[in-house]
């Protein structure tokens, strides 16, 4: 039986409709950001970049953007680095590896909501697990406020996310390390290379594809982190732990300022595109030889 082009296109109709809806939503987002649409009202007044200029005038917006950058910096680098080191150590261990990597991977099966509730309870200054443990050892915990302090709150939150996502980078690196030829490592060891040299001069350059996957996936997670912030601190003491998706939610659904919310979402889209696309192109050229 022969197939024709029209028949093929006919079979594609459902998926084309779905793809059309996806991209139509992005276009709709731009439309909402550039007009004075008020939700259920049919007022199509073109206001240009008014929403954007108002957004950039907000102090809160810049704080949130800074927090997003902090997430990018202090979440991705430690997760990737510690994940790689752990994968190297586990790869050397041999027998115990199978149980141990599952322990690290287990938090990945929890959702961010559960992690948030759990860690918020643990960070509680008066009755939390961490402070009660420290008190048990004999540390004076009266000054350790964890997520109650504006200076440390965001780092505590990042630590919770780090706890959850370490297994992810660990597993990806473990798979990549298993994939590279063992003779290379053997040869380096024969020449008297130390473990540090083997890990960072021999193995790390050869698992560039894993680094690329890890950093990109974690960057995407970072840019859209919302649930952890919502559950743990609701934006924290003041606005000190707010991130851009949280601001978008607050502007759209609490202040009913839909244009501003759409403008924020476009800023997030631009932010993630500017962050991720040049990086992946650069990393593809550097580490992955196509």
């Amino acid at each position: 039986m022969r197939y024709y082009r029209t028949q093929g296109l006919l079979f594609l109709v459902p998926i084309l409709v779905i793809v059309g809806i996806f991209y139509g939503m992005i276009v709709w987002d731009f439309v909402v950001a550039l007009t004075g649409w008020q939700g259920l009202q049919a007022t199509w007044k073109f206001v240009g970049l008014y929403h954007f200029s108002r957004l950039f005038g907000l102090q809160r917006f810049w704080v949130n953007l800074g927090n997003n950058l902090r997430w990018l910096l202090f979440f991705i680098a430690p997760t990737v680095f510690v994940g790689f080191l752990l994968a190297y150590l586990l790869n050397n261990l041999g027998r115990g590896e199978k149980i141990l990597w599952q322990i690290f991977l287990f938090p990945m099966s929890l959702s961010f909501i559960i992690t948030g509730v759990l860690w918020a309870r643990m960070y509680d200054p008066s009755s939390g697990l961490i402070n009660s443990l420290l008190r048990f050892i004999g540390v004076n915990t009266s000054r350790l406020g964890w997520i109650a302090l504006p200076q440390t709150a965001i780092y505590c939150m990042i630590l919770a996310a780090f706890w959850q996502y370490l297994g992810f980078s660990l597993v990806i690196y473990l798979g990549a390390i298993k994939g590279i030829p063992y003779e290379m490592v053997e040869a380096a060891k024969m020449d008297g290379a130390s473990h540090l040299t083997v890990a960072f001069r021999v193995i790390f350059p050869n698992v560039g594809h894993a680094t690329l996957i890890c950093t990109t996936m974690l960057a995407i997670t970072t840019v859209k982190v919302f649930d952890l912030v919502w559950v743990m601190t609701r934006g924290g003491p003041g606005v000190s732990t707010e991130v851009l998706p949280y601001l978008m939610y607050r502007l759209t659904f609490d202040s009913r300022d839909i244009g501003m919310g759409a403008a924020t979402s476009i800023v997030i889209l631009g932010f993630s595109a500017v962050m991720v696309i040049p990086y992946s192109l650069w990393a593809l050229k550097k580490w992955v030889r196509v």
């Binding site: 459902p14 261990l93 759990l118 643990m122």
Partner: protein
């Protein structure tokens, strides 16, 4: 000798880290098995005196609606997922932008 020393040290490090990693989960599970009075003592690392599942019974009563809704969501999700499997075709058909989109 040096190699064995390294292996021992790394095993120790990884095991300690794994134990630290499991502390929140351990606290979560043991707290769910304690009575309200025991929880109020704030001794999170002490195992419960007696395993009791009344907390779970209560939680399932509250979660009943959520479970039903989850089931509906799952069914809809699976159906639409089957439907979307036709996207595989999209990667096979040659059209002007196919190379830049899928390769």
């Amino acid at each position: 000798m040096k190699e064995r020393y390294f292996l021992f040290l790394s095993a120790l490090l990884v095991v300690v880290l794994a134990v630290v990693w499991m502390i929140p989960i351990y606290a979560l599970v043991t707290t769910s098995l304690k009575t309200q009075q025991e929880v109020a003592l704030q001794k999170y690392l002490v195992p419960p005196q007696q395993f009791q599942f009344t907390n779970f019974a209560k939680a399932f009563q509250v979660l009943k609606i959520g479970c039903d809704q989850g089931r509906i969501l799952l069914m809809v999700n699976i159906l639409t997922n089957r439907f979307c499997k036709s996207s595989t075709v999209l990667s096979r058909v040659r059209f002007p932008a196919s190379k830049s989109l899928f390769q």
